[in-house]
Amino acid sequence: MELTLNEVEHMTRLARMRLSADEMERMREQLSAILDYIALLNEVDVSDVPPTAQVTGLSSVMREDTVLPSLPRNEVLAQSPDHAEGMFRVKAVFDD
């Protein structure tokens, strides 16, 4: 399946990535090749197989509504790239 450059650009936007024109073309080729490879699965006859999202056979695995202590905030923040006022700091995604 041949992806278009427009589709690749859409994906970079969803992933919040910025790619150069060269990278964009390289991604287009590689992602197209990956899709072709996965498309091999289309050759298998699955008409008798129900759609399967789980393979464990488990259901309704739940826990009691009990509280455990929080992670220590300062230790967690210390491992983040940037923080201020007890909060994680990131670049703004939108400038609104």
Binding site: S60, V67, L71, R73, G86, M87, F88, V93
Partner: protein
């Protein structure tokens, strides 16, 4: 306006009142505290962290579904909704998509014509709330993950709402029910209850719905109504001037009183939903649903109708007494207790809705505080003192207020402040003679045949005794004095 029909659907997000979060054991009790004090490997989305479903949150979601007449599905699944934004550290939100836990319900609201109107509920699904971002002017954002992973129900109405006023009443009714069954705090300021709307208009002659616009950021009942009134007018104006409506998301700007289009490119919706591989499906037996049904309390509408039937209350009184479950419980407890002193349900209702609500209103308190401010025993005590003639009605109100304010039992207040009713004829006769001497004008009027003038003189005795005189006795004594003096 009347040439156009309005169609509105609401999406209400309600946090579920549990002790711990939806998929991990972090506390949900973060309000008013420091940021990032309720965080875990799951709510931070750290690699390898696995979610585990909070059983109580599921039970309460099913309970809510039953309260709004939904079918609880015996088989439902979680789904991943993918989007990249820092309020969700995993890059996806765990939600439900094509198999939600509850479907196809309704609630009844008062329609614009004053008649009951049924508003359909499309679905109720469970998801996790996101973190909170604080945008800084320097181009960075600060993130607090306390809210991340809070259990959240999304309740989606059918497009059955015909006006902004109905939308407000639907939202109010839903809040009442959620608070009544104890699943949500109803706190809109803290974001525990939020609302988005889809709204479209179409010429009355047209069958097909118009293009819908989504409105976000309405943080109060008033905002919901105002934003929708504005948006309906805006859409009609666009159509009237020959334009067409763009399907888009608009934010309500409270300060300016307008809705503003949000840039669609940045909100590109491509959620790529798929079944959540980390969570097995929820599969329940009918007995599990029956257990939830058994947990469901008598709902406000049913209780309101019963108050009218059992206690001969007016519709208005019954409505007010069932706005809040704590008040309804208080009322019924007091009605039971009042039987021993021959107090009627109407008496009890009058005390609660009159003095009780007035005082709560004065101090800007929630009506749920009534029971702590004025325990039922204290209310009954005031009613009893009044019924036995130990205090006058005026004094009873003063005692109620004093007891409400300082928590003292009413009989103690009466004893300490010497408020017992004065029915002693001799004592009142002395007072009556003073009042007669000091108010010749009223006395003259009375004697010249204007019998109503005696009310003024009774009032003077009441004033002199700070409301403690038995008004009936005061009147009799006055009449006796006036008639013998003549």
């Amino acid at each position: 306006m009347s040439d156009y029909l309005t169609t509105i659907g609401l999406e209400v997000h309600a946090q579920v009142r549990t002790a711990s979060k939806m998929f991990d054991a972090c506390s949900t009790d973060y309000a008013g505290g420091a940021p990032n004090q309720c965080i875990s490997v799951v709510s931070l989305g750290l690699p390898g962290a696995l979610p585990v479903i909070n059983q109580r949150a599921i039970e309460l979601a099913a309970l809510t579904g039953l309260a709004i007449n939904c079918t609880v599905q015996l088989h439902s699944v979680f789904a991943r909704k993918s989007y990249i934004y820092p309020d969700l550290p995993k890059g996806y939100q765990i939600s439900q998509y094509d198999q939600p836990i509850c479907t196809d319900g309704w609630i009844t609201i008062e329609g614009d014509d004053g008649q009951p109107r049924r508003i359909g509920i499309e679905r109720l699904h469970i998801e996790e709330d996101t973190g909170r971002l604080v945008h800084y002017p320097d181009g960075t954002s600060l993130i607090d993950y306390n809210r991340s992973g809070m259990p959240l129900m999304e309740i989606v109405s059918k497009p059955d709402i015909a006006s902004p006023e109905e939308a407000k009443r639907y939202f109010q009714k839903l809040r009442q029910i959620l608070m009544w069954i104890g699943v949500n705090s109803g706190n809109m300021e803290e974001g525990a209850l939020r609302c988005d709307a889809n709204v479209s208009v179409r010429p009355a002659s047209q069958q097909a719905f118009g293009t819908k616009v989504e409105i976000k950021n309405m943080n109060s009942f008033r905002a919901v109504e105002r934003a929708l009134v504005y948006e309906v007018e805006r859409q009609i104006d666009v159509l009237e001037s020959g334009g067409s409506i763009t399907q888009e998301t608009r934010g309500w700007n409270e300060a300016q009183g307008i809705t503003v289009g949000q840039r669609s490119k940045e909100f590109a919706h491509d959620y790529r939903y798929f079944a959540e591989p980390d969570l097995p499906p929820l599969i329940f037996e009918p007995a599990w649903v029956e257990a939830r049904q058994a947990e469901l309390p008598e709902l406000p509408d049913v209780r309101c109708a019963r108050f009218i039937a059992d206690y001969a209350l007016s519709q208005q009184d019954a409505d007010l007494l069932t706005t809040d479950r704590a008040v309804a419980d208080y009322f019924e407890t007091a009605v039971d207790a009042a039987r021993a002193i021959q107090g009627t349900p109407k008496d009890v209702a009058n005390w609660i809705l009159g003095e009780g609500f007035r005082l709560l209103n004065d101090s800007n308190e929630e009506s749920t505080n009534l029971g702590t401010r004025m325990p039922v025993a204290h209310l009954i005590n005031v009613m009893d003192l009044l019924a036995q003639g130990k205090i006058t009605r005026t004094v009873a109100k003063q005692v109620f207020e004093a007891s409400f304010q300082n928590g003292q039992p009413p009989d103690q207040i009466v004893a300490e402040q010497g408020l017992t009713q004065i029915s002693d004829t001799d004592a009142l006769a002395t007072l009556a003679r003073e009042v007669i001497a000091n108010n010749p004008k009223a006395v003259d009027e009375y004697r010249r045949g204007k019998k109503t003038a005696i009310q003024f003189l009774v009032g003077q005795i009441m004033k002199a005794t700070r409301g403690q005189a038995n008004p009936q006795t005061a009147r009799t004594v006055l009449e006796a004095e006036l008639d013998t003096d003549a």
